[in-house]
C-alpha cells in the first residue's frame, strides 16, 4: 500500500490520465458538433439535453486534463475524472448488454468509428481505476516520508 501512497506514483498516474483527457478533449473543444451524433448513438439521453452535454462535456474533459497534469485543483479534477469515467462506463455497459456496438466518441470525433461495446468497456476500465485511485488515495506527505 505504501507504493500507492508514494507521491511520485500518484503524480505519474495523474499525468498519464490527464494527458489522455487532454488528447480526448481538444478536438471536441475545437468542434463539438459531431458529438451530437455520437451522443445520440448511445440511445440513452432524450433529445433535449444532448446539446447541453455536447456543449459542456468537452470543456469538462479539458479542465480535468489540465488539472491532473498541472496539479492545480487536482483532487477536484480527480473527482470529475471519476465521475465522467463512471458515466462513460455505465453508458457503454448499457449498450454492451443491449448488444449494440457504438461510436465511443472517446478519441475519435466520427460517428462512423464504431467498436464492440464490450471492448470499449474493457479499454476504459484501467482509466476508471486510475481515476478512483487519484480520488480515494491520499499521497503521503514529504514530512511523513522523512519520518
Amino acid at each position: 500500500m505504501r507504493f500507492f501512497r508514494n507521491p511520485w506514483v500518484y503524480r505519474a498516474v495523474a499525468w498519464v490520465l490527464g494527458g489522455i483527457f487532454l488528447y480526448a478533449a481538444i478536438p471536441k473543444v475545437l468542434d463539438p458538433r459531431p458529438l451530437l451524433t455520437i451522443i445520440w448513438g448511445y440511445r440513452i439521453l432524450p433529445p433535449g439535453p444532448i446539446n447541453l452535454v455536447a456543449i459542456y462535456m468537452p470543456w469538462l474533459e479539458l479542465t480535468v486534463g489540465l488539472g491532473l497534469i498541472s496539479g492545480f485543483l487536482r483532487r477536484g479534477a480527480a473527482f470529475w475524472a471519476f465521475f465522467l469515467l463512471t458515466v462513460f462506463e455505465a453508458a457503454l455497459l448499457v449498450n454492451a448488454f443491449r448488444g449494440v456496438n457504438v461510436a465511443c466518441g472517446c478519441f475519435s470525433q466520427s460517428a462512423e468509428d464504431v467498436h464492440n461495446a464490450w471492448f470499449l468497456v474493457l479499454r476504459d476500465l484501467p482509466m476508471w481505476l486510475a481515476a478512483a485511485y487519484l480520488l480515494f488515495i491520499t499521497p503521503q506527505s514529504r514530512q511523513a516520508n522523512a519520518a
Binding site: 501512497r5 473543444v29 468542434d31 463539438p32 458538433r33 459531431p34 451530437l36 451524433t37 445520440w40 448513438g41 433529445p47 433535449g48 439535453p49 444532448i50 446539446n51 447541453l52 455536447a54 456543449i55 459542456y56 468537452p58 470543456w59 469538462l60 479542465t63 480535468v64 488539472g67 485543483l73 487536482r74 483532487r75 477536484g76 479534477a77 480527480a78 473527482f79 470529475w80 475519435s108 470525433q109 466520427s110 460517428a111 462512423e112 468509428d113 478512483a132 485511485y133 480520488l135 480515494f136 488515495i137 491520499t138
Partner: protein, 166 residues
C-alpha cells in the same frame, strides 16, 4: 481498502470551482457566432444514409460532374482552404451559418441542381452528412445530396483537377 480518508471538503470545493470554470468557458464558447449551436436539442435524428445523403466515391463524383450539367459541388472547408484549391465550380457552405449563407439566388440554384455533391477536408464525413441533412431540411425539393467519401484528398488522389481562388 482504498479509504485513506480523502479530504472530502477540499474535493467538493475544488470540484465546484472546476464546474464553474467549465460553465463559464462552455457558455462563452457557444455564444461565439461561428460555433453556436442550440442549447436544447430539437429531437433531430442523426443523418441516415439513403434518406439524408448517399456516399459517393471520387470516380463517380467526377463522372457525375462531367455528365450532368447542373451538378453542384459544395465545399465545407474553411475559406482559406477553399481559396487554396477546390473542385472547379464548387461553392462553399458552412453548417453553423447555413441559413445566412443560403441567399435566394443560391437557394434557386440548388433547387434546380440535378445533383449536389458535398465534400470536406477529412476522411471522416460527419460534417458533410449533417450539412446534407440540413440542406434537405431547408430545401425539401432538393434531391438527396451525395457525400464524397474520403473528401478532397480522395479527389486529388484520383488525379482530378482543382482550381484556386485568385
Amino acid at each position: 481498502m482504498l479509504c485513506y480518508s480523502p479530504p472530502m471538503g477540499r474535493i467538493w470545493r475544488e470540484a465546484a470551482i472546476l464546474l464553474a470554470v467549465v460553465v463559464v468557458f462552455g457558455t462563452v464558447a457557444n455564444l461565439l457566432p461561428h460555433r453556436h449551436m442550440a442549447w436544447w436539442g430539437q429531437g433531430q435524428e442523426p443523418p441516415q444514409a439513403g434518406r439524408d445523403f448517399q456516399l459517393l466515391d471520387a470516380d463517380s463524383a467526377y463522372v457525375m460532374g462531367e455528365s450532368l450539367p447542373r451538378t453542384v459541388f459544395v465545399d465545407t472547408r474553411t475559406a482559406a482552404e477553399f481559396n487554396a484549391g477546390h473542385i472547379p465550380g464548387a461553392l462553399r457552405l458552412e453548417l453553423p451559418s447555413l441559413q445566412e449563407m443560403l441567399t435566394p439566388e443560391l437557394r434557386s440554384g440548388l433547387a434546380a441542381a440535378q445533383a449536389v455533391i458535398i465534400y470536406g477536408g477529412s476522411a471522416e464525413t460527419d460534417i458533410e452528412q449533417l450539412l446534407a441533412q440540413a440542406l434537405r431540411r431547408e430545401l425539401p425539393a432538393l434531391p438527396v445530396p451525395y457525400v464524397l467519401a474520403g473528401g478532397i484528398a480522395a479527389w486529388q488522389a484520383a488525379g482530378f483537377p482543382l482550381e484556386a481562388q485568385p
